[in-house]
Point group: C2
DNA sequence: AGCATGTGTGCGCAAGTGTTGACAGACAGA
DNA sequence: TCTGTCTGTCAACACTTGCGCACACATGCT
């Protein structure tokens, strides 16, 4: 399988739409598939559904079925595989990364990815 | 366009081969394109060259030209865009992420991604 | 200059991926 | 039970991406 966990995660994250979806879900606690689709005019429900499926398979989002609704939430696990990879590559500047994360955290800063998409 | 910085980074990271290349370079300080290509039997030099181009455009690796050689090294900047994104999504479990990073660092653990690629 | 080496690029082909439209399943309410 | 709503899945299409081959460019050696 070319689809190891980290592979799935990075593939899932490769698509801007999926990152946007992930951010969107992250902002709220839970969102139904319909609510998510509603946020993206330029995207059909099927497309959103497909993306959600990929995100779910990658373990990035969790699905809670409630009647005919499906509520999606961001998986709390901070993507171990991603951390592992970053670790292997940025061994040297690891502390730098950690502090960068903490900086961002301290700043209360939320530089959403979606903002970039508007004017690249 | 669609190629904002984080877009380029995530796209670059989406490919297992590129992650492997990045890890490989990370292990050493600098590697020439030829040395990198030599590490991947199943890959031609042109493919490696293409990957290096993408990694360079994403700002993940730096190129130092020395005569007819080109030495590649991992860009020290720990991919700000990636951190920014993770921050936006995992706001809640951010500290968790930071500690995970530090954990991995402390463990001296280097769970390379490359191991996945063999079956591909 | 001539030749060999290191490396990137353009072209064409094969493979993977996203999007859409139509269909099917599950559930709530009348 | 019947209908409408919410959602996922399947098949088909267009688009993008990765790969190898041949070629071009730059550099170093003789």
């Amino acid at each position: 399988m070319t689809t190891s966990q980290s592979d799935a995660i990075f593939s899932a994250l490769a698509d801007p739409t999926r990152r946007a979806i992930l951010s969107l879900i992250g902002e709220h606690e839970e969102l139904t598939a319909g609510e998510i689709a509603a946020h993206f005019d330029s995207l059909g429900r099927t497309a959103v559904s497909s993306h959600l499926r990929i995100l779910r398979l990658a373990g990035l989002v969790a699905e809670r079925r409630d009647g005919r609704f499906r509520h999606y939430s961001v998986t709390p696990t901070p993507a171990d595989a991603v951390v592992a990879f970053l670790t292997s590559v940025y061994q040297n500047s690891l502390e730098q990364l950690a502090s960068a994360v903490q900086d961002a955290s301290a700043a209360g800063d939320t530089p959403l990815d979606r903002t970039e998409e508007r004017s690249a």
